[in-house]
Symmetry: C2
Subunit: 147 residues, 2 copies
């Protein structure tokens, strides 16, 4: 896991560089995103912020998560069920392993896709900008649990 203080500083720097105001809400959100324990969805981020920031609204969470995403400071993982999840700790493409029972998401340390990306570019004539690789399965906790 990346150093979350560095991540936080980077987010704050991007706000300043782009001329956005440093509101309490944005700073609190940057704090939560920079840790991003467990790849939270918007609801989870909202709940974590309410602990320290009771007046926070959902709309503000959406607006500012998207703002940080536009700076490349947050990676959005979209899902068909509409509960997208966010990673502000490692905001660059990397593989995910997702438990289809408990929805846990972890980051495995595996080799990069650089070779395959080049192969795909050669074959298809696309200019490849990014990628997404998810493995779906059942985590060991859920495997040992009674049904």
């Amino acid at each position: 896991m990346a150093d979350s203080n560095e991540r936080y500083e980077s987010m704050v720097r991007k706000l300043k560089e782009h001329g956005y105001k440093l509101t309490h809400q944005r700073l609190a959100l940057a704090r939560v995103l920079s840790v991003s324990e467990g790849h939270p969805d918007v609801e989870t981020i909202f709940l974590r912020l309410q602990d320290s920031f009771p007046t926070m609204s959902l709309a503000t969470v959406y607006r500012n998560v998207m703002l940080f995403k536009s700076f490349g400071e947050v990676l959005e993982l979209g899902f068909p069920n509409g509960r997208n999840r966010f990673d502000g700790n490692k905001p660059f493409p990397h593989p995910h392993v997702i438990c289809i029972r408990c929805q846990k998401i972890i980051d495995p340390d595996v080799g990069s896709l650089k070779d395959m990306t080049e192969e795909v570019a050669d074959i298809t004539g696309f200019v490849i900008l990014t990628h997404r690789l998810d493995f779906f399965g059942i985590c060991s906790d859920c495997m040992t649990e009674k049904v």
Copy 2:
């Protein structure tokens, strides 16, 4: 591309095996899905069906695409924007290359992810059931087009 007649027969067989009725709507949908030219979204499938089937409703498309998906006869590609797309021609995990300008999706012929899947299972302790690999970029048509 797989043989679309074989795919169609397979879909019809699954309907019979599971005791579902062979309605005109389901057969027409199976025909469209078995070709799946261009990984259509629900709206596109709906429009294609209306040519030959003017009374078709969107709800019926949704219900039956999901029915075929439950048989493993259709692969759903979910996207954060909510316009999910479907592949009834190759309903098993395979890489996709997606143009972020024109939304075209193509299937590149690249090596499998078998080795990486095993590596991920070893590292994480997950039982890996499926995966998804998408490359995002700009296709050659869109690259040469004027902005």
